[in-house]
């Protein structure tokens, strides 16, 4: 019903959040009734009576069931006919009457509207028109327990309703407050962790939709101790997850299930809830009356309950406080649930929907069609609520299977609290001194203990070693390949079962999966890529012997393959799947591989049935649990929480109908199709992902590169391209890779930057990279630069056996090496002097900055001027690249960085540098090294130039700044070094791949392991300084995680990007043919360690605390 009467703008009731805060500071519990009558006079009288109580009260207007389900006609009809309703029909009465009723509370008492509607918009409209901004509910908690409205509709309606409330309150110059009903749900038999989780998630939902003051609810359950844990958990999670400036408090509900039938029993239960509120730190309590079990209470009965509760709270406060309660299992479970849900989407509403669809949240006994209904809660022997069945929820606490819940058993559980309190009250315990919360019922049956599992195998055969490979991209695959290859060589003493877990294609994983643009190229020449740890032979491809990517490609797709070039990523994906299939096809006896297309949500450890080793339990998103003995973490590229600026940008775009923001990820994950033709799109970052985006927005949209442009290529547009404005700190793209001139098996042998020299540096401890390592690296780079100049200057003239140039270069190299060999710190000056003797350009490369940041300190008057300079620079770089990575002096020099990666790792990995030096290494050297040595093939630079020429690509300039322009409703970007370079953008794409940081990783498994201390971040500490790198701390080979308590987690291994920062440059997605590089060696070390377990009897691991 809509009313045109203007809203009465009298001063509304005081703000609930502030009122509760003031009471809490004064050390008093706020008490509040559940109260609703149909007639305005009665309702107003009730509100006044509550407000007049000497206690700190909040007045309640509870709405009737017709209004809740949106049947305002039925409500109006009932009011007209004078029929009784179970609450106040606010919408039917309209805002004027509503304002009058609420006004009856007077100026000092807040008034809250409580309803139970999955679509609160009409109610909120009426409320705001009446000057009321305090209410309760939530998209889940007012949907699932309250009817049959589809959850998706409820989420949408609550989103709009919440925003409406927030906006209207702001317009009225006051604040809105929302309380989540998530802590109650169906009122009974729901284990507390789910209640806590929903409460927290709903408050996050409110906040995301503009509310700045919230309360988190929890309803008293069956066990006082567990309830106290729940309140602690609720507080902890709220503080962790809600933005700090959001006002919050905890509200406890007196028991919401079947209530004691006797008045003394009811009073007792109420008193216990008041105790719990005080002990558990809830600031507000919503009471129940003595008549709860029978009928709607009168005002007088409500007042009595409020007085009694406040009285009990005061008494409890005088008693000595117990020790602080920790969140226990409730906290761990609730955190697992919340994390799993939040990992599903940035949008909490969407995340909640997905969570219910997948059964990650599942309310026990709830009949709503959108609730999976597979979970069940029971009251355990000790009186606590426990999971009897988890359905698909990502928790581990319930191994037990219970007898089916019969009507008798259900009825017993539902009545348990009521009967306990009726009985306790009958025995006339003096008020205020009760037995603690829940006594085991004398006749209660213990739950059957955890069963299932494969406890009863045949005694003769040794139990298999069960290994979970979590993540089966190249890294996971490499471990599998080495495992299988080793088993082919040496028979197993014990069967080994591998569970290859990846929701994407096994082998390829997410990054290399086949559903991505065919235009995305690999970054390593196909000839230098293999996933087999040995070369192919005459036999079939099998673990340890198989084709390189180039060999396989040429055979698999002879028409299109370009084995000498760079393969599309989809091709590599196909190769990886092929390798996986080959391995599985050629498994040795005793080794089995189970493919598990699922995501692991959480992991914990349980004692085995036979009391032996503590196995790992992995809960999968498809609902089942895997029990394994060993775990290999190979989860690869992370997906992280947005950082501050990213969140702001996402919020800005979310609040706009036209502007788009696409967050950093691998380009295959980005919804680039959403960017309309002709739109101006800014791209933040000009690395490899930028190139992927670039081809997708051009070639991917039908454009073509023809081989006749000024710089090699010309772009023929399709007309569907957007205008592309890339920008980054340096303003230039990655340097192109020199055309490959080195055979696949080529290995460079360093002269100055030798493993031995760096080994000695490392041995001294506490290394400063920039002082002790970088100078040697620069010396090596310049050695190659100058030697190449010398070699190529002489041309191909040949005298006798050797080429003249090569001989001169060798001579130079010997002398230069000798000249610097004994230096403490090598200087470049002697190299330069020496080179001059050979008649070549003796200019050295003093640092990498000059190469990677060519425009540092330069100013440009116009964007055109910058682009001309950029074009010249790119052409020069391309010319260098075309000279090749052996014959081009500059590219040969840059290639050194790739060639000596392993030596750099040997100094840097596992805490080789001091904390401060590691920080500098990661923030300064690492990006430079990437710019110089990880660049794309030269063809990408040609394409860049062609797109520049076609006017599609308009680079912004160095030191680019992106802003959200509220007035224009667009993003903008400008370069601080290019005058009037500012452009408005319709879309902004963050093209930076998220880096490793466990603290913001969104993978629920990683979060869970971090939270329970199974893994931790690598904190580099040295002489009182510390630097938290965010990478996963592990031992050296075979790479066991280090637990939070410092012990070594020997039943786990970690490989690849998760351990970045602990180790350097782990983003390597392929092995190299020829002698093993670290990619294959790491995998082999892990495979070896795993198989050790298959040879020996398993030993208890818990006792072995390791050291670093």
């Amino acid at each position: 019903m809509t009313r045109s009467i203007p809203a009465p703008r009298r001063p509304g009731p005081p703000d609930l959040g502030a009122y509760v805060r003031a009471a809490a500071e004064a050390g008093e519990l706020v008490v509040q009734p559940r109260m609703g009558m149909a007639r305005p006079e009665e309702m107003a009288a009730g509100v006044t009576a509550v407000a007049r109580l000497p206690e700190r009260t909040v007045a309640t207007v509870t709405l009737d069931s017709y209004t809740r389900v949106g049947d305002h006609a039925a409500a109006t009809a009932a009011v007209r006919a004078g029929r009784p309703l179970n609450g106040f029909p606010l919408v039917a009465h309209g805002p004027r009457v509503g304002a009058r009723v609420a006004g009856a509370a007077g100026p000092a008492t807040p008034v809250q509207v409580r309803h139970g509607s999955a679509d609160p918009i009409a109610i909120f409209r009426t409320m705001t028109a009446a000057g009321l901004y305090t209410s309760e509910g939530g998209p889940v908690s007012y949907c699932l327990p309250y009817g049959r409205t589809p959850l998706a509709e409820s989420v949408a309606a609550w989103r709009d309703g919440t925003r409406l409330l927030a906006e209207e309150s702001r317009a009225a110059g006051t604040g809105a407050h929302l309380e989540s009903f998530g802590g109650c749900l169906l009122g009974q038999l729901c284990p507390p962790s789910l209640l806590v989780a929903v409460s927290v998630l709903e408050c996050l939902f409110f906040v995301q939709n503009g509310i700045t003051s919230v309360s988190l609810s929890y309803a008293q359950q069956t066990h006082a101790g567990q309830d106290a844990e729940a309140l602690t958990a609720l507080r902890r999670l709220a503080d962790e997850l809600l933005p700090p400036d959001v006002d919050r408090h905890l509200v406890l509900y007196t028991y919401m299930g079947v209530f004691p039938r006797t008045a003394p029993g009811a009073r007792l239960l109420l008193a216990r809830s008041a105790e719990l509120a005080v002990r558990g730190g809830a600031e507000r309590l919503i009471v129940k009356t003595e008549t709860e079990a029978h009928r709607i209470p009168t005002v007088e009965e409500n007042l009595t309950a409020l007085r009694n509760a406040a009285e009990q709270a005061r008494r409890t406060r005088l008693e000595p406080a117990g020790p602080p309660v920790d969140g226990g299992e409730v906290l761990a479970e609730a955190r697992a649930l919340v994390t799993a849900v939040l990992s599903l989407s940035d949008n909490v509403g969407t995340a909640l929907l997905r969570a219910f669809r997948r059964g990650l949240l599942d309310v026990p006994y709830c009949l709503h069609p959108d609730n999976r209904g597979a979970a069940r809660g029971v009251i355990a022997e000790d009186g606590r609520l426990r999971w009897a069945d988890l359905g698909a929820m990502p928790l581990l606490s319930a191994g037990r299977r219970t007898t089916p819940v019969t009507s008798d058993r259900l009825s017993l559980m539902l009545r348990r609290v009521a009967e306990q309190h009726d009985a306790a009250a009958r025995q006339a315990a003096p008020e205020g001194r009760h037995e603690p919360g829940a006594q085991p019922e004398p006749g209660a049956r213990p739950e059957p203990a955890a069963g299932a599992g494969n406890g009863t195998g045949s005694e003769q055969r040794p139990a298999p070693l069960r290994v979970a490979l979590i993540g089966v991209g190249p890294r996971g695959l490499s471990v599998l390949e080495r495992l299988a290859a080793r088993c082919l060589e040496q028979p197993l003493a014990r069967p080994v079962e591998i569970h290859a877990i990846d929701p994407y294609q096994a082998g390829a994983g997410r990054i290399w999966r086949q559903s991505q643009s065919p235009h995305f190229l690999m970054n390593t020449p196909a000839r230098e890529v293999t996933m087999f740890s040995g070369p192919g032979d005459d036999g079939p491809a099998r673990p340890g012997a198989g084709p390189t990517l180039a060999e396989w490609w040429a055979a698999a797709d002879p028409e299109n393959a370009d084995p000498d070039g760079y393969a599309p990523r989809v091709v590599y994906g196909r190769y990886l799947s092929h390798v996986f299939d080959r391995i599985v096809a050629a498994l040795p006896v005793g080794l089995t591989v189970q493919r598990v297309p699922a995501r692991v949500l959480s992991a914990d450890r349980i004692p085995d049935e036979d009391g032996g080793t503590r196995a790992h339990r992995l809960r999968l998103d498809r609902g089942d649990v895997l029990t394994v003995d060993r775990v290999v973490l190979a989860t690869g590229h992370p997906s992280n929480d947005l950082d501050g600026p990213q969140r702001d940008r996402a919020a800005f775009a979310a609040g706009s109908a036209t502007v788009r923001y696409i967050n950093g990820d691998s380009a295959g994950e980005m919804p680039l199709k959403d960017i309309p033709p002709g739109a101006s799109v800014g791209i933040l970052g000009m690395g490899l992902t930028f190139y992927d985006i670039l081809v997708e927005l051009t070639q991917g949209r039908g454009g073509r590169f023809a081989p006749d442009g000024p710089d090699g290529l010309r772009y023929l547009p399709s007309g569907r391209e957007p205008r592309i404005f890339p920008a980054s700190r340096s303003g230039v793209p990655l340097l192109a890779r020199g055309v490959n001139q080195k055979p696949p098996l080529h290995r460079y042998r360093a002269r100055l930057f030798t493993p031995e020299r760096m080994g000695a540096v490392r041995a001294r401890g506490g290394v400063d990279f920039h002082a002790a390592v970088l100078p040697w690296l620069m010396a090596e780079v310049n050695l190659v630069l100058l030697a190449t100049r010398i070699r190529t200057a002489a041309g191909d003239a040949v005298i006798g056996e050797a080429a003249v140039g090569a001989a001169a270069a060798a001579d130079f190299t010997e002398r230069a090496t000798a000249a610097l060999a004994d230096a403490d710190t090598p200087l470049l000056e002697p190299l330069s002097r020496l080179a001059a003797e050979y008649g070549v350009d003796p200019t050295v490369l003093a640092d990498f900055d000059t190469l990677a940041r060519p425009f540092r300190g330069k100013r440009f008057c116009t964007a055109a001027e910058f682009r001309t300079a950029l074009t010249d620079w790119l052409r020069a770089d391309l010319a260098d690249a075309r000279l090749g990575n052996a014959d081009g002096p500059l590219k040969a020099a840059c290639d050194v960085l790739r060639d000596v990666r392993q030596t750099i790792r040997s100094v840097v990995d596992f805490g080789g540098l001091t904390p401060e030096s590691q920080r500098r290494f990661l923030t300064e050297f690492n990006p430079l090294a990437a710019l110089i040595s990880t660049g794309p093939p030269a063809v990408r630079s040609e394409q860049f130039l062609a797109l520049l020429d076609a006017g599609i690509l308009e680079p912004v300039g160095p030191q680019a700044v992106f802003r959200s322009d509220g007035t224009a409703g667009r993003f903008t970007v400008e370069s601080l070094q290019v005058d009037s370079s500012r452009v408005g953008l319709d879309a902004l794409v963050d093209a930076r791949v998220p880096g490793t940081d466990l603290r913001t990783d969104r993978n629920p498994l990683i979060r869970g392991l971090l939270a329970d201390g199974t893994i931790r971040t690598f904190v580099n500490s040295w002489e009182g300084h510390a630097y938290d790198t965010g990478g996963l701390a592990s031992t050296d080979s075979p790479f066991h995680p280090i637990r939070a308590d410092g012990a070594v987690e020997r039943s786990m291994h970690v490989i690849g990007i998760l351990s970045e920062h602990t180790r350097w440059f782990t983003q390597v997605g392929s092995g190299r043919p020829g002698s093993w590089g670290s990619f294959t060696r790491d995998a082999d070390a892990i495979a070896g360690a795993l198989l050790d377990g298959a040879m020996l009897e398993p030993t208890p691991l818990a006792a072995k605390a390791g050291t670093r």
Binding site: G116, R148, C366, L367, G373, G623
Partner: protein
């Protein structure tokens, strides 16, 4: 461990011989969100050999009538506890009786039908008048339903062709 979409607890644990089993349509008021009563009643009836179709919370009259027409249950049990049972119950039974197809299906009510004990007799009279075959006083347990179901002659058995089902089975 196959998981059906339907809640697990709704799987029957029959104790009586299915031959005596009756088909029950379990419903509640269009404004009533309470479901524990429905869950319990369903389990209870199923355990006694009856099959139950549980319509869940907040059942609109049309849904009730449509489902009744499709399934032709032996009995409709209207269970409401939110205090609107007499209002919602009147609407529900009138809708069922208004359709020729469903007019003859027996229907009983129980739970907590008003918001207070006052006027219980009047409510009961009104509900019976509107077409309920039985209205159980607030607080009556589910056991009485067993007797009623035992007395029922399944309509389908009475008249397998079943064109005109106007006569009611005495309550």
């Amino acid at each position: 461990m196959a998981q059906s979409a339907a809640p697990q607890l709704l799987r029957p644990v029959p104790q009586a011989a299915p031959a005596d089993g009756r088909r029950v349509l379990l419903t509640t008021g269009s404004s009533d969100a309470h479901t524990w009563n429905l869950v319990h009643l369903q389990l209870f009836l199923e355990e006694h050999g009856h099959s139950v179709l549980n319509l869940g919370p907040c059942v609109p009259e049309e849904l009730l009538v449509d489902t009744a027409r499709l399934t032709m249950p032996d009995l409709v049990v209207f269970s409401s506890v939110n205090g609107h049972g007499h209002l919602d119950g009147l609407r529900a039974v009138r809708a069922l009786r208004a359709e020729a197809d469903t007019r003859g299906i027996p229907m009983v009510a129980g739970g907590l039908l008003g918001i207070s004990p006052e006027g219980a007799e009047q409510r009961r009279a009104e509900l019976l008048e509107a077409g309920f075959d039985g209205v159980h006083p607030d607080g009556t347990g589910p056991e009485v339903l067993l007797e009623r179901l035992a007395e029922l002659i399944p309509l389908a058995a009475l008249d397998p062709a079943g064109p005109a089902r106007t006569e009611r089975v005495a309550a």
